[in-house]
Every structure is written in structure tokens, then in C-alpha cells.
């Protein structure tokens, strides 16, 4: 029996939950309580969920976020988005082939339509992620009457998917703490404030011109909220990429992947390939490794990864091939992804013939960047409703920046309401800017000359906003510029005649796993290196032979593991100790996890970019749209009229940036492009919900007059 569930995870706790039976095409399978239908299917090795009604193309998961309808299945006869519905015992799931049948209902059924709940609040916060939560905390502290809505089952937004320790400022934004734990801290704090009402599983659907916001409350009821001020903290959505095979099941976004792995605790892939070397892609790769998934490669089209060097180095050290100046040519496979073909690019980002490489993989993650989810903000502004945006909905940046921008927006809103008369310190805005900043300069590695005693080697070479290392040293030997935490940490061999005691705290706390400890005390010729490791303890044991690598993953030597240590209170990072010759000691950055990965030889098919799917919902290709652009069409509304691109369930969320990209490729300036009208609803909602009926199918049906 196939079982792709995670029962152990180095960081996440896996609760034991009851198992029960369900059916897929009449085959009896096992689900774990709390799984969505999609995760239950993935856990059983199923990843083709339906066949598109237009051309029969197999469809798999794409957003895992309820935004598209790629994962549509029939659940007990009802078409549902499998990523949003929880599986129930005995449920009969079928793939949708062609258009689904709308389940019949006795035409004599009479319904009791409930009145639609209407609610007035001072502030409506859309999104309970880092920005929404901190804004709610600021507002709650001041007793402002707020409603916070979030479409997920728990608060925290994408924080709940983040197993790594956070960067940023330890004072301002919980740096050094793991994302999942920050989510819990923020949730506990916001729940202390009685003036903040929280609706979970509640999706904002539309901002209307009468200044009411339609909300699908708790997944089943319609409510209209009339706020004085709206704060949009709805985060970001992932950009997509056009390449042949981009529509195959197994090609999806890094966010979807993190949801499946870190929230639903299933392993949706055995061999993963990542497109995009920003933080999202790099972190997703790390999460994959933590879940026991092989990461066969990562391509980044630019000469350098855009994400933090420490994230990139972590992956490289663990044995993930990182190919910069490379692009994806196509995903190959019949019914789902079987391999990916990549190639080196020239200065104009054009693939260089003869450099193609094909890697076997079953999943390709697209992690090429994010766009703000700002529809509600724009609509609110258009309709004259006082509106603010925070976090990624305002500007794409790290979660640490979102945590801080939420605080600022919270106080700004309180000021507008006249409930806070103080000034917002200008230093807050400076901090916000620092936290938002992209990685700065990278410096060559520098090692202290000393070869005795014990001391940390800091392999942190790129300016990024981060300072936890400076807060943990009991002798204050590590300093980061307090006014600009982007500056590299400085290590003092000693202060007041006192040096490092080898407490390991800096090694453990560094979010980039970029600090090792070198200890010459036992054997000056073969010093012992302490390496941080965030994987299951049982995969590595004393006596194991490991490949020791430098900070960027280049092999240095083979070594035997002296000890594997987990300390209570060190928050799941384990420490591995190895001994290496003293000339290598300071260079050691980590140990390799994955064996060497080689491309497989396949015949390269030639690039056919026009097969790439631009509108996934309506199956519109790049070729169809390119033809219209070449005819002179500049109005995306007209492209939509002709091709239906943008008319599908996702509401043009995926195709719009891709269409802009095609325009760019055709040399059309942005100023000539007319964007399509964006209209509600944010997601599709059953008609009955608007009529005041619960959306849950079963029970309430036949309640007669």
C-alpha cells in the first residue's frame, strides 16, 4: 500500500490522528483525520484529479489554496475543490471527466432562507498572517473594534508553513524564532484582546460599491461587513511561468508544496526540481529535504540567486545542484511530470543550444516570484472606502517585514480613527525599510588566524537584515550594527580578556545555519567542528562517514561523526560534531545530505514555447495569445473575449502576469497594454450561500415548510 504521509518531521510535531476509509474510483483507500481530499489523495500516491472539460488534459494540484479549480473532484457526487474540502469517512471521490453534473435536488424542496448577517465594525482586517495579526494586536491593545477574517483553519498565514528560524531583528520581529512558533506567539497575543473578533475559514469575496464587504463566513455562510476602515493583509500570490509542459500535473507553486508538506504532512513527491532561486524557492527546497524528499536541482535564470545567500548555501551544502544562469525549457511527461529539461542562458536570457540537461523528477516547483494580492485594496480605494495595505499585499518582502509593517499600519489606522494620538516613531519606518531591503553586498570569506581554544566561525557573508547572533553570546563577543542590522556580524576573539566558552548558542540560533564552532582544545591537529543540522536525528549517527563541505557546498573531505547532540531548549536544531584536519577546520560549513545528482540523458525535443499554457483554467496557449498581440490587439479584454483567457475559476489571477510577459516579449511597452476589468468574486461560492443557506451539502436539505 502506498502511504506518503509524514509520521516524523525534524521540526514539525506530527499528531497521531485516527485513520479511516474512503473511496477513489471505488478503490478503498485510507485517509487521516483532518486531511483535505487533495492531501488524502496525494498520501495515496494519486495526483491526477480530473481531466479538463475542454481538451481532456489531466489536471493536478496547482494553488492548493482554493483560488483555482485545477484540483476539482466529485465528492459524493458534488463537484468540489479537493484542496479546500476535508475528507470524511466513507466519502466517495471520483475524478471529474469533462463537465461535472450538478447534483439533482428534488424540485419541490423548500428552503428556509436565513437572513444574511450584517455587521458594522471599525476595522476589517483581511488576512490573519504576519501583517494582519500584528495590526490586530496594535488595534486590540487600543480597544478598537476589529474583525479579522482569514480563509484558513488557523491563524498565522504562511508563517505556519515555515519551519526555519526567522531572519530580521530579534527586538522588532522575533528573529531567531521559527515561523511556526511566531504564528503561535502572535495568535496567543491577539486572542487576549476582546475587541478583536476572529473569523477563521472565512474568505473575503468582494468589496462592494455600497462599502460593504461580502465574506464567506466559516466556509458556509454569507455575511456582509461594513467597516469604517479596511486593512488588506491578504499576502501574495505566486507568479507562474510559461514553458511547454507547464500544465502537467506535478508542476505547481512553492506555496502549494509547502501547504501539502508542512501543513498537511504528506510527501507529494519523491524527486523535486525547483525553478527560481529566490527565498521562496530556496526555502521550499529546504523544506523538501526536511520531509525526506530528494531535491534534484534548482535553476535560477539570473547569474546569482535572488534569495539570501545563506539559504542558497544551505541547499548547496546539503547536495542540491544549484544552476544559475539557467532556465527551464520544458517539463516532460505523458500524464504527469517525468523529467525536466533545462539549459544555460546567455546575457539576453536566451537558452544556449547544446547546454540542455534533463533531470528525472516527478514534480517541478515554480518559485519565480510573488505578486501582491491587492484586489480588495484597489476596489476599496475605488469605492471611496478608507483602505490600508500591509505585508506582501502592500509590497513583496520577507515575513519579518510583514510583521513590522502590520504594526505600523495598526497604529496608523488607530490614528485615523482618533484612538491613538501619539506619534509613530520615525525609527519604525526606518526599521520597516531595513527589514524590507533586498540582500546587499556579498563579501569574501574571512577567517580568524587563531588556531587554539574554541571560537565560532561566522560564514555569514552577505548583507541581510538579521541579528539574532548578536543577542545570544553570554560574553557579547558577536556584534551587529544596531542602527543597521544589514551589516555583517563582527566577532571579537575576546572582550575584557574573556573569549568564547563554546556554549554553542550562536550556532543554534543563526537562521542561516551559517555559524560553526571550531574547537582546538582536544586535538589541535584535528579540531572538532560543531555543525547545526535541522533534520531527523535518526538519519545521522556517531561513527557515520559524511562528506564535509565548505560554506558553498564544495566537498572538503570525508569525516566520521563524533557525536550527534540535541539539547533541550535548543528548539529542534541538532548539533553534529566532526573532526577534520586543522587546515580545513575553519572552512567547514556543513555536511552533505544528498548523493551526487547527475542529469539523465534524453533526446532534447527542441523548444516550442507556443505550446505553453497561459490560462490554465481555459487552456489557452501562448501561441493563441501571441498571434493576437501580433495582430495589434492591446486590450486584454479583447484577448479575453476571443480566447476566454481570464474567464475561468481563478479570475485571471494566474494568466494576467503571463500575458503581460508575452506583450513584453513581443516588444509592446507596458503603457500600451489595457488591463482587463477585474470583478468579484474572489473565489467561487455556491449560489445557496448568498441566499442564506448553509453550503454544507448533507443535513439541512429537506427541511420542509
Amino acid at each position: 500500500m502506498i502511504d506518503k504521509r509524514l509520521y516524523k518531521h525534524p521540526i514539525l510535531s506530527v499528531e497521531e490522528k485516527p485513520l479511516f476509509k474512503f473511496y477513489w474510483q471505488d478503490q478503498e483507500l485510507v485517509a487521516r483525520e483532518g486531511e483535505t481530499i487533495a492531501s488524502a489523495l496525494f498520501a495515496n500516491g494519486i495526483r491526477i484529479f480530473n481531466y479538463h472539460h475542454k481538451d481532456g488534459a489531466p489536471q493536478g494540484i496547482f494553488c492548493a489554496n482554493g483560488q483555482c479549480a485545477q484540483c476539482l473532484v466529485l465528492a459524493d457526487g458534488m463537484p468540489v475543490k479537493s484542496c479546500m474540502e476535508l475528507i470524511r469517512p466513507g466519502m466517495k471521490i471520483q475524478p471529474v471527466k469533462g463537465l461535472p453534473e450538478l447534483p439533482p435536488i428534488d424540485p419541490e424542496t423548500s428552503f428556509s432562507f436565513q437572513p444574511i448577517e450584517e455587521l458594522e465594525v471599525q476595522v476589517l482586517i483581511i488576512g490573519g498572517g504576519p501583517a494582519g495579526l500584528t495590526a490586530a494586536i496594535e488595534l486590540g491593545r487600543l480597544g478598537v473594534n476589529c474583525l479579522l477574517v482569514d480563509d484558513k483553519h488557523r491563524l498565522g498565514g504562511k508563517l505556519v508553513l515555515q519551519t526555519h528560524r526567522f531572519f530580521g531583528s530579534i527586538e522588532a520581529v522575533y528573529a531567531g524564532t521559527r515561523g511556526i512558533d511566531i504564528a503561535t506567539k502572535l495568535e496567543n497575543e491577539v486572542r487576549q484582546y476582546p475587541s478583536v473578533k476572529i473569523w477563521l475559514q472565512s474568505t473575503a469575496l468582494a468589496v462592494f460599491s455600497d462599502k460593504k464587504v461580502g465574506i464567506l463566513k466559516e466556509g458556509e455562510k454569507y455575511a456582509l461587513v461594513k467597516p469604517e476602515i479596511i486593512l488588506v493583509a491578504s499576502g501574495a500570490r505566486e507568479k507562474s511561468l510559461a514553458f511547454p509542459g507547464n500544465d502537467l500535473p506535478g508542476v505547481y507553486g512553492a506555496g502549494a508544496f509547502q501547504t501539502l508538506v508542512n501543513r498537511d504532512l504528506v510527501r507529494p513527491t519523491e524527486k523535486l526540481f525547483i525553478v527560481g532561486g529566490g527565498n521562496v524557492g530556496l526555502i521550499a527546497g529546504y523544506h523538501a529535504l526536511q520531509a525526506g524528499i530528494q531535491v534534484v536541482g534548482l535553476v535560477e535564470v539570473m547569474p546569482e540567486c535572488g534569495g539570501y545567500k545563506v539559504h542558497k548555501d544551505k541547499l548547496a551544502r546539503l547536495g542540491v545542484p544549484i544552476m544559475t544562469s539557467h532556465t527551464v525549457l520544458r517539463a516532460n511527461g505523458k500524464e504527469s511530470v517525468e523529467s525536466i529539461t533545462v539549459a544555460r542562458v546567455d546575457e539576453k536570457f536566451q537558452p544556449i543550444e547544446g547546454t540542455e540537461k534533463t533531470f528525472a523528477c516527478d514534480t517541478v516547483l515554480i518559485a519565480i516570484g510573488l505578486d501582491p494580492v491587492n484586489e480588495f485594496y484597489l476596489k476599496a480605494k475605488e469605492f471611496g472606502l478608507s483602505a490600508y495595505a500591509a505585508g506582501d499585499a502592500e509590497e513583496i518582502a520577507e515575513a519579518s517585514a510583514a510583521i513590522f509593517s502590520g504594526r505600523i499600519r495598526g497604529l496608523e489606522i488607530a490614528r485615523e480613527l482618533g484612538l491613538y494620538s501619539g506619534e509613530i516613531p520615525s525609527s519604525w519606518y526606518e526599521t520597516a525599510n531595513i527589514l524590507k531591503s533586498k540582500p546587499g553586498k556579498t563579501y569574501p570569506e574571512y577567517f580568524p588566524e587563531k588556531e587554539s581554544g574554541v571560537f565560532p566561525v561566522i560564514h555569514c557573508l552577505q548583507e541581510i537584515p538579521c541579528n539574532p547572533c548578536s543577542a545570544v553570546c553570554p560574553r557579547n563577543l558577536i556584534e551587529v550594527d544596531k542602527n543597521d542590522i544589514r551589516k555583517l556580524p563582527v566577532y571579537y576573539l575576546e572582550k575584557n580578556g574573556k573569549g568564547c566558552i563554546g556554549c554553542e548558542r550562536c550556532v543554534v540560533v543563526c537562521p542561516g545555519l551559517a555559524i560553526t564552532l571550531v574547537d582546538y582544545r582536544k586535538d589541535p591537529q584535528f579540531p572538532e567542528i560543531t555543525i547545526p543540522f535541522e533534520f531527523l536525528k535518526e538519519i545521522i549517527n556517531p561513527g557515520d562517514k559524511v562528506t564535509v563541505v565548505d560554506v558553498e557546498g564544495n566537498p572538503l573531505t570525508e569525516a566520521r561523526v563524533n557525536s550527534v547532540k540535541s539539547i533541550k531548549g535548543n528548539d529542534r536544531t541538532i548539533l553534529i560534531k566532526v573532526q577534520v584536519p586543522k587546515e580545513l577546520a575553519k572552512k567547514v560549513g556543513g555536511i552533505r545530505l544528498q548523493p551526487q545528482i547527475e542529469p539523465v540523458e534524453t533526446q532534447y525535443q527542441g523548444k516550442m514555447p507556443d505550446e505553453a499554457i497561459i490560462c490554465r483554467c481555459e487552456r489557452v496557449t501562448a501561441g493563441e495569445i501571441r498571434k493576437l498581440i501580433r495582430e495589434g490587439i492591446r486590450d486584454i479584454n479583447e484577448i479575453k473575449t476571443i480566447t476566454r483567457a481570464g474567464m475561468g475559476p481563478c479570475g485571471a489571477k494566474t494568466c494576467t502576469p503571463l500575458i503581460h510577459r508575452l506583450f513584453r516579449e513581443e516588444g509592446v511597452p507596458e503603457s500600451e497594454i489595457i488591463d482587463q476589468l477585474k470583478r468579484p468574486l474572489f473565489i467561487e461560492v455556491p449560489l445557496g450561500v448568498f441566499a442564506g443557506l448553509n453550503s454544507r451539502p448533507a443535513e439541512e436539505e429537506k427541511e420542509n415548510e
Binding site: 472539460h53 479549480a69 450538478l102 435536488i105 424540485p107 419541490e108 475559476p649 449560489l687 448568498f690
Partner: protein, 385 residues
């Protein structure tokens, strides 16, 4: 004086202007269409839901509707463009005596005009619409030759074919004035230039009164707005457009059908009317329309609503369009006030305008024009709105 560049200038590339450009150009006229939008059909056409019927209650609209149906239903065969035409018929349902009486009253006239339409008793109607709520159902009319198509695709097809036969279009250009001299129209001024023609057609939809004013004419066209929505697609489970005429608090009639794509498209008439140019979505629409639709067809409860929008109905006081020559300004032709039926009347009106411009009216044209005259009294009231 040099000859004018164009023979006809049409203001508005919408449901009326675009097919008119096509038929005129097809008949050899040099035509220019001017529209303020960046591409055709971007004002009210794209907001139309797509119903096409000849089932009206007066000879003029019945005749124009029949022509439109003929043009749209044979378009693919004649020109090759897919318009998502589906001949599903129209069904006006009656749950009360009032509606039964109204509907039955107009059947003789409709039949005289050559419409295929029958009154079906409840059990017969349920054979066509098994999902219709049978409680208190009295019956309804069924006109099998009506149907529906995509307004967007139709307008785009008229546009492309019009260009093929020589019509010119200028988009993102706003008409700022009409050139009139000695009581004769000479052309059109826009924010980007001026264009000459001896005939100018006002097909400016909701903005028609503003354009007429440029010729010194006051015409009673005022936009009202209706909201509409479209659902996810599902397998076809009913054929006709369903119209429920019952007024209830907050709304008059509403109607819905299943499009060729499998999607349900629906629309409601707010009561009282919402006058003005506001096309922004309101929070009232979905709760209002959903109850009525689910009550009528419980099966619709689970269909998911995908998108919602609001569009303008250029209304006239009596509910009939205004089509005809201006008496004050020679060469100024009005084709306005379609009252939300521009899509279903547009192709028929386009042919009529072509005949008017060419001075070769057809046998029924005088009768049609008498109903639609700009100089009528506007006091009658339409039975089937």
C-alpha cells in the same frame, strides 16, 4: 469642396454600432466607427447576458428580433465564427394568475407576427424543465426558436468581418462634437481629430442622449443598471432561458439560462430602477437574486457563482428603442435606447439602418419605424419587458 472621407460615421462600436458597420460596409459603404473604449463591445455589450428572442409583445421588436435570430443562428454557417449560439428557446413561467393572464394575452399577437410560441400547462412545461419547482406552477410560454449566444463573441465577429469588408474603426477616441452646416450633418469631431461624412449614426448606447445633444436634440434615453453573474460550468441540464415576471420587494423580473459553455448566466431587474451611469457592483444583488432562483429551481442551490458585474440599460420612457432620422439635422440617424436589448435587436436594427441609409426601405420598415420613431409620444407601455 472635397468629397467627405467617409459615407457613414457610426458613434459607438457596441451591440448596435458594430453590426451596423458590418452591414453598411458589406453593402459597399465607406464606414468609420468611433468608440471611446480601447476595443469593440467594451461598454454594455460585454455586460449583456446573451439572450436572443423574438418573443416580444409588439410587431416592431418581434420583426427585428426575428431578423437578429436569423443572422446570429446562421452566422457560423455563413462566416465561420463561433458565437456559442444555442437554440434553447425562451420560457416565461407563470406561478400566479396575473402572469398567466399577461402571457396568454399576447400569444395571439405573437402568433400573428409569425412567432412559434405556445402556452404549456404545468405538466407539459415540466417535461421541458424537470427541475422547475412545481408548487403553484400554472404553466408558461415556450418559444423554441429563441436562444442565446455570446455577446462578446458576436460583437467581435461583427467587428472582424466589418474590417474585412472595409469598415474602419478608431478606438480610444471620444466624440466631442458634431459638424453641422445648413441643417445637414457634415461629420464628427473627436478629441483626436475630425472626420467627415454626410451620414452620422448615433449608436452610443447609454451615452446616446449626450451625443444627440451635440446635434441639438433632446432624446429621452437614460441609463438604468442591472446586475448579472455567471457561474462555473456544469453539464447541460436545461435548455431555455427562463424568465420569471413576478415582481417582489426590491426586484421586478429576473431571468437565467445555461450558456453553451455550461455556465448559468443570470440577471435581475432592480425595483425601483437604479438610474445613472454607476456600473459598480452592489452587495444587494446576489442575496436578492439567489433566493428567487433557488426558489424557482432548487437544483441551482449548489452551483458556484464565479463572477458578477453590473451593466447599463439605456431606457426610454415606453421601453421601445428609438430608431430613425432626425428631422432637424439631415443625415443624423438615431439607433439608441435599446432598453437593455441591444444584443438581441442589434443585428436586425443594423440591417434596418443599412436600408435607411441606402434609401431602400423594406416592406415592413414603415411599420417598424412608426413604433420606434424619435418623435413618438412615448406614452404606451410594453407588456413583456
Amino acid at each position: 469642396m472635397s468629397s467627405p472621407e467617409y459615407e457613414v460615421i457610426i458613434i459607438g462600436a457596441g451591440s448596435v454600432g458594430t453590426p451596423t458597420a458590418f452591414f453598411l460596409a458589406l453593402n459597399g459603404y465607406r464606414v468609420l466607427v468611433i468608440d471611446k473604449n480601447p476595443s469593440p463591445g467594451q461598454s454594455s455589450n460585454k455586460r449583456a447576458i446573451g439572450g436572443l428572442r423574438a418573443t416580444h409583445s409588439d410587431p416592431a421588436k418581434i420583426k427585428l428580433g426575428l431578423r437578429s435570430l436569423k443572422i446570429i443562428s446562421s452566422w457560423k454557417e455563413n462566416y465561420g465564427d463561433e458565437l456559442e449560439w444555442h437554440q434553447g428557446g425562451y420560457c416565461f413561467v407563470a406561478y400566479r394568475e396575473e402572469e398567466e393572464k399577461t402571457l396568454k394575452e399576447v400569444i395571439p399577437l405573437q402568433k400573428r407576427q409569425g412567432l412559434k410560441i405556445e402556452w404549456l400547462e404545468a405538466d407539459e412545461l415540466r417535461k421541458i424543465l424537470p427541475d422547475l419547482n412545481p408548487r403553484n406552477l400554472r404553466g408558461g410560454t415556450f418559444s423554441p426558436e429563441d436562444g442565446h449566444a455570446s455577446p462578446l463573441l458576436a460583437n467581435e465577429a461583427f467587428y472582424r468581418q466589418a474590417k474585412k469588408v472595409g469598415a474602419e474603426f478608431r478606438f480610444k477616441e471620444r466624440v466631442t462634437g458634431l459638424m453641422i452646416s445648413g441643417g445637414q450633418i457634415k461629420g464628427v469631431k473627436t478629441d483626436r481629430g475630425s472626420y467627415h461624412a454626410p451620414v452620422v449614426i448615433n449608436a452610443a448606447g447609454a451615452w446616446a442622449a449626450e451625443v444627440a445633444k451635440m446635434a441639438g436634440m433632446e432624446i429621452p434615453v437614460t441609463p438604468d443598471s442591472h446586475e448579472a453573474a455567471v457561474t462555473e460550468p456544469v453539464q447541460r441540464f436545461f435548455e431555455p432561458m427562463i424568465v420569471d415576471l413576478r415582481p417582489v420587494k426590491g426586484s421586478a423580473n429576473y431571468y437565467f439560462y445555461q450558456h453553451a459553455t455550461g455556465q448559468i448566466i443570470f440577471c435581475i431587474t432592480p425595483s425601483p430602477s437604479r438610474w445613472g451611469f454607476d456600473e459598480r457592483e452592489t452587495s444587494e444583488f446576489l442575496p436578492m437574486v439567489s433566493r428567487r432562483m433557488i426558489d424557482l429551481m432548487p437544483r441551482l442551490k449548489n452551483i458556484r457563482v464565479r463572477r458578477t458585474w453590473r451593466g447599463l440599460y439605456p431606457m426610454t420612457p415606453d421601453g421601445f428603442p428609438i430608431v430613425g432620422w432626425s428631422r432637424e439635422v439631415r443625415g443624423f440617424l438615431l439607433a439608441v435606447g435599446m432598453c437593455g436589448q441591444g444584443f438581441m435587436l442589434g443585428p436586425g436594427v443594423a440591417e434596418l439602418l443599412t436600408r435607411l441609409v441606402s434609401g431602400k426601405p423594406g416592406p415592413d420598415d414603415q411599420e417598424i419605424l412608426s413604433y420606434l420613431s424619435p418623435y413618438r409620444s412615448f406614452v404606451s407601455e410594453e407588456i413583456l419587458k
